[in-house]
């Protein structure tokens, strides 16, 4: 449908002395599903609202299909938006909710009828068309909100945390439905969420933001396996990556609080090449890269720690071991067959070839 480009976008709210969105640059390809993710207040919704035209752009250019859109009114941007709390018109029936935008645009009645019925068909809302939103469940309301966007046949869909008001099960179901919808419509979608799992599962590309700035743009795989800094590494993945402030000496990273593991050859070379010998750095390791199986303990004998399990969570296929070695706390995600009770003493191997190393001061990645 259309390419969207955001060039050096800034947003500063009147009366604030700092920018809410800082130098936002992004090119969105035709038909792409982009997810903005980040903690509350990181500027992701503000950016979305600027694209929608609901907020003024303080500085920078927003272009759609090559055309500058900064001053174009929301209704002329040919966009559709789905809001977190659905934002349905309470006094109108489901049919009228979906038809409102078309009626406003003076579309012939028969066409409206057809489009709304088609959308209702896709979303399984046909039998609810005459109901008022108040008589629908949360999931149905969210479908109506989606339907209102679909019928418009817009060139860009903006979704602002559309699933956060739904319960966990429904959220997973709607996630799939939105993904299918995207494949079916092949429209550009920009989706805002604070839930990294939603971002990982749905996105073609993820834009991860913090404190108003883009931290990294990439595929879910990029962000998970090749984070550019400690923030991205810590935000993506659940439970979060373990971080240790450590010192590199003689091919071993240790933190003086009970953790001391060898860095494998290849990884060590990169660190040494970049001048981190005898220097402080941050070691990051994902919970699933800490093992308790006998095979792993043998294979990684120089990266084994003696740990005490403090809390253990059984999750069916996996179990989470919140453990401690010396003064150092960390989480290990191990196979449920290796379940250990709290208080048990367990040997654990750190798979250091998969560790991430970050600079202590800049928190930028040294080696992934």
């Amino acid at each position: 449908m259309t390419e969207i480009s955001l060039e050096h976008i800034y947003k500063r709210y009147p009366g604030n002395d700092s920018d809410s969105v800082i130098d936002f640059n992004l090119e969105i390809a035709d038909g792409e599903f982009v997810v903005f993710v980040g903690p509350s207040g990181c500027g992701k919704s503000t950016t979305l609202r600027m694209i929608a035209g609901l907020e003024d752009i303080t500085k920078g250019d927003l272009k759609m299909g090559g055309k500058l859109m900064n001053k174009v009114h929301p209704k002329d941007r040919n966009i559709a938006m789905v809001f977190q709390n659905y934002a349905l018109y309470p006094q109108m029936s489901v049919f009228d909710n979906m038809a409102f935008g078309l009626k406003i645009r003076k579309m012939p009645k028969a066409d409206i009828q057809k489009r709304v019925n088609d959308a209702a068909e896709i979303l399984g809302l046909t039998e609810y068309l005459q109901r008022k939103p108040g008589a629908l469940s949360g999931g149905q309301r969210q479908r109506v909100a989606l339907g209102r966007a679909i019928v418009r046949d817009a060139q860009l869909f903006l979704l602002d945390e559309p699933l956060s008001n739904l319960d966990a099960k429904l959220r997973v179901q709607m996630r799939t439905e939105i993904a299918q919808l995207h494949q079916r419509l092949a429209t550009n979608m920009i989706y805002v969420t604070h839930d990294q799992i939603e971002a990982m599962t749905m996105a073609d590309r993820i834009v991860i933001m913090n404190k108003g700035s883009i931290q990294q743009v990439g595929t879910p795989d990029d962000l998970y396996n090749k984070p550019v800094n400690k923030f991205v590494a810590g935000f993506m993945g659940s439970p979060a990556m373990n971080f240790f402030d450590a010192h590199l000496h003689d091919g071993t990273v240790s933190n003086g609080k009970g953790l001391s593991v060898k860095v494998p050859e290849g990884r060590l070379k990169t660190l040494l090449d970049k001048g981190y010998n005898d220097k402080d750095l941050i070691v990051g390791i994902r919970p699933e890269d800490i093992h308790t199986e006998e095979v792993a303990l043998e294979a990684m004998a120089d990266a084994v720690v003696q740990a005490d399990v403090e809390v253990s969570e059984f999750l069916g296929t996996d179990s989470m071991l919140y453990s401690k070695t010396g003064e150092t706390e960390f989480v290990a995600q191990v196979n449920a067959r290796d379940y250990h009770k709290p208080g048990e003493h367990v040997e654990m191997a750190f798979e250091m070839s998969k560790a991430h190393f970050f600079d202590k001061d800049s928190e930028a990645v040294i080696s992934n």
């Binding site: 929608a52 209704k75 559709a80």
Partner: protein
Amino acid sequence: MKNRSLSFWLFVTPTLVALALVVFIPALMGIFYSFTNWDGLTYTTMLGFKNYITVFQDSGFLAALWFTVKFVVVTVILLNVIGLSLALLVTRKFKGNNLLRTVFFMPNLIGGLILGFIWQFIFTQVFDALGFSGWLTNQTTGFWGLVIVTLWQMSGYIMIIYIAYLQNIPTEVIEAAEIDGASPWQRFWNITFPMIAPAFTVSMFLTLSNGFKLYDPNLSLTNGGPYKSTEMLAMNIVNTAYSENDFARAEAKALVFFVIVGAISLLQVYYTRKREVDL
């Protein structure tokens, strides 16, 4: 109901007694007196419906009723239009909107009696000086004088009610309509207006019953003059009782008045309620 505890009755009794003493018993007594020749102190004979028959033959009462109905129609419409417009104005984002809210509400803090006198001065002295002489000297200017004073007093109050409901409309709904392509007027007419229907019910009821019951500005602004041509229902009743000393007939008028106001208000609430939506 059988198992009401002692504390329930301890809490309810004082209110019940007070209400009975000042509302229920006087009302029942009033109804009774309206069938007698009560003069405020004693009564000698039962008159049956005679008082009620004279009420409807009383040209003064009927004139006051007609004047009041006209007044109510005009003020209900204007108060709601102005109140809503002011509410829409001050709920926009601009500097000083809070100050304006206070300013618009302030006349409501002044009692109707005082306000009537203030406006009497304005209508007679200030208008005169500006070349609009003769205000309050005939029924038409008296009528509009009363309307203006009422608008001046009540608009701010009605505005507050509309503000409360306007602020309850989620911004997202308005934004959704904006993205759907609705112009400001379409947004107001299709989205905002239906969503503040409950405010309409409340304000309509308040303005309606207030209009019918209006007394103090009537007293201080025109005192019913000239020649009782601007006498409203409440004033007509008071005058019957205290000027003509015909308390029994005044009671009958008051009861007729009560039934009219009650019936209209209930009807209005019933019909506007039906149009409201559950949010």
